[in-house]
Every structure is written in structure tokens, then in C-alpha cells.
Amino acid sequence: MTWLLLNWPQALQLAWTHVLLSVPAITISVLVAVPLGRLAHRYPRPGGALLSAASLLYAIPSLPLLIIIPVVLGIPLRSSATMVVALSVYGVALLVRSAADAFGAVDARVRLAATAIGFSPWALFWRVELPLATPVLLAGVRVVVVSTVGLATIGALVGIPSLGSLFTDGFQRGIAGEVITGIVATVALALALDGACALTGRALTPWTRSARSEHAGRHTGPVAA
């Protein structure tokens, strides 16, 4: 507590750096994983291979990945780009399966009905499938948010600043308060971003809420309503 009182500008600065590492990585993960998940659902054979590859990617430990990425991409080890790429790799690996599941959960009859009334494949994706897949997708994104914020701390070990710097610095100087501040701040940041995600999701899927409050049963989307 004393440590935080004396050093809060530094902690705040590191928290902001942490946000600047996590949020771009989460955004990239969503932008890459959602189309991939859609394709994996549409073409199950190469899709299955893609999903297995993604889970293998996730099996690569984070610290080694942080060292391999700069060598492969030719970027400096201690740059924030290295961290954003590493976090995006894990984000995509995690999210691609939930994205495929999310599109799989869309009722095939709804898809057929939309095609029958004249939706083009493009409009079908944007106006029928994506909205209906959003609840499952969102659950996946929230897992990615929490894991990304936690993983970003590992960067401190190779010298990429984040809230994790409070762990390495606190450990080397023997200040438990600094480490505790880091843990609390990381968990708080994860919960805050997760909450923001949940609220965005509620705003994007108003039908799930009204269906629940009216006990209207299984109306799952705008097409059903």
C-alpha cells in the first residue's frame, strides 16, 4: 500500500502501456479469428486441420515464442510489436475454435430462410450469421481478453514494459508491495476490459436480453423475432 502511495504515477503509466499492448492484440485476434472461424465452419475438412493447428500454436510456451518471433520477423526483441504479435497469435489460436462453434450454432433453417428471401452471401454473413453468432463469439472474446491481459505481463522478463515490470522490479529489489500492486492492477485491468466487453455485447445483442426478460423462450435472434 505504501509502495503504491509513493509510486502511483509509475503504476498508472505501466497500466496504460499494458492497455496499449493488450487492446491492439485483442482487436487483431478478433479480426483474424472471426473470418477464419467462419471458413473453418463452412469447409470442415481444411477447417478441422486449421483448428488442430491453432491448438498446437497455443501449446507453444509464451516466453520461447517471445524469443522466436523477433528472429522470424526480424523485429527488435524488446519492442512492443513483438509482444502484440505474440499476444495476437495466442488470441487467434484461442478464438478460432469458439468462432467456428459460434457459426455452427446458427440455426441452418434460419440460414436457408434468409437465402430463400434473397439475401446475398455477403448480406447473409453481415446481417444474419454474424449477429446470431455474436453471443457465443462474445464468450470466446471474453476468455481471450482475460488471458491476453495476464499473458502481457510475461513481456517484462525480456524487457518489454507492462504491469509485469512491477513483478520483475519488485522481485529484484525485494519489495512485496510492488509485486502485489502489479497482481491487483493486472486482475483489475482484466476484469475492467472483460466488463467493457460484456457491456458492448449486451448493446450489440438487445434481443437476447428482451427474450430473457419476457421469458419468451428460445427466440435467438432478430430473424426469429
Binding site: 510456451p61 509464451s62 520461447p64 522466436i68 484461442l94 512491477l166
Partner: protein, 237 residues
């Protein structure tokens, strides 16, 4: 890309493989820490998870605890534990146990919970005791999901055991930290490749184990649910 060649040369040097700080010894330590942490975590998590799944009570509490545990950054826990317990194996093992518990717990209760209640009632009707129901009905049927939880936990632990080298002289992570300090990139990259290879090897073994467990329980397509649940448990926090 030249660095990869240097790393492979480093790996090819026989003097790096033997001795007290050799690769064989380090890999054995790495696997030892992983197995130790998993054993402790399983002793805590599996009975609890099975009990929660069997009685269907306390589920929300378990979900809340594992959710909170997942959000805690392992590096933070590790450094804090190391400050409290000193340099050595206790701190990494403690941090790895906390890391492994949520996946094991989730696998155990989700697996047992997914067993058809009609089957459980049938077992009860033919006169099985609650203990027999757990050991002879629920656990065999839950095996694929429980193994799925074990698989996720093992991956997380073997990957994170790399960090043990930050606070103690153990495991393959040592090459990463030594290389980092002396700017010896080939050694660092070689260490990274070794950890990744070990993780992928364990992943392959456990995937096969899960397949066997799934095949043992799913003789008919009707029981597709546990396999799907098991698949959804993959990945780590």
C-alpha cells in the same frame, strides 16, 4: 534466419547435453517440476471436482474460484511466492499448482456432471452405493472430459515451468534466462525450441490418451456429448 542455424549448432554440440547443467538434466528437472505440480494440483482438484459434479452442489462457488485463479498472472504469483518463501523450488511449484487447479477442477466437475442422470438413477436402482456409482459409472463415462482437463492443465504447467528458472536453478527455462542476460541469442533460441518441442510432445501424447479415453466410452454415436465437451476444454488461461 541465420540465428536458427546457430541455435541448431548449439543444440548439436554434445557438450551441451551432458553434465549437471546439460540439456538431459534440465529436461528431466523440467518434467519433474511439471509432474510434481500436477500431482499436487490433481490431489486437490480432482476429488473436489468429482464431488461437485456428483452432488451438483457448490458449482457456482467452484466456477467463481477457478475464474479468479485464471485471472491472476502467474509471473506475479511466482515472484510474490519467491519473495515470501525464498529462492528454490517451493515458489514455482506453488504458482504452478494454482495455475493447474482451474483446468483440472473444470474437467472433473464438467465430466461427472455431463453423465446422463438417467444412467446414474439406473445404477442407484440396481443397488449401487454412492461410492460405486462414482467409481464404476460416473468416472468411466466422464473419463474423456477429465483427461481433457488434465491435458489443458499439463500444457499450461509445462509451458509455465519455464518461468521456474527465473527464481531457481531448474528446468529448460535456465537457457532462456542465461542467454537473455549474456545476450547469447543462439542459446536463448535453442532453449526456446527445446521448451516448445517438449510442450508439443506432451500435447501429442495427451491428445492420444484423450482419444483412447473417448473411444473407450463412445461405442455408440449417441454419446457424442462428452467428446465435444472435452474438446471445448482445450486451451489455457
Amino acid at each position: 534466419m541465420n540465428l536458427f542455424a546457430d541455435a541448431l549448432t548449439w543444440l548439436g554440440d554434445p557438450s551441451h547435453w551432458s553434465g549437471r547443467t546439460g540439456i538431459a538434466q534440465r529436461a528431466a528437472q523440467h518434467l519433474g517440476v511439471t509432474a510434481g505440480a500436477l500431482a499436487i494440483a490433481a490431489t486437490l482438484a480432482l476429488p473436489t471436482g468429482i464431488l461437485v459434479g456428483h452432488t451438483r452442489r457448490g458449482r457456482s462457488l467452484v466456477v467463481a474460484i477457478s475464474g479468479a485463479a485464471r485471472a491472476v498472472p502467474t509471473l506475479g504469483l511466482l515472484t510474490l511466492a519467491a519473495l515470501a518463501l525464498g529462492i528454490g523450488l517451493q515458489a514455482p511449484v506453488l504458482a504452478l499448482v494454482v495455475l493447474a487447479v482451474p483446468s483440472l477442477l473444470a474437467g472433473a466437475y464438467a465430466g461427472v456432471e455431463s453423465v446422463d442422470p438417467v444412467t446414474v438413477d439406473a445404477a442407484r436402482a440396481v443397488g449401487m452405493s454412492e461410492f460405486q456409482i462414482i467409481t464404476r459409472v460416473e468416472l468411466p463415462l466422464a473419463a474423456p472430459v477429465v483427461v481433457g482437463g488434465l491435458r489443458a492443465a499439463t500444457l499450461q504447467v509445462v509451458a509455465t515451468a519455464t518461468l521456474a528458472a527465473y527464481v531457481s536453478d531448474t528446468g529448460l527455462g535456465r537457457y532462456l534466462f542465461t542467454g537473455l542476460r549474456s545476450r547469447d541469442y543462439p542459446q536463448m533460441l535453442a532453449g526456446a525450441l527445446l521448451v516448445a518441442a517438449l510442450a508439443l510432445l506432451l500435447e501429442a501424447v495427451l491428445a492420444r490418451l484423450q482419444q483412447l479415453a473417448t473411444r473407450a466410452t463412445t461405442s455408440t454415436p449417441r454419446h457424442g456429448a462428452p467428446a465435444r465437451l472435452a474438446a471445448s476444454l482445450e486451451g489455457h488461461a
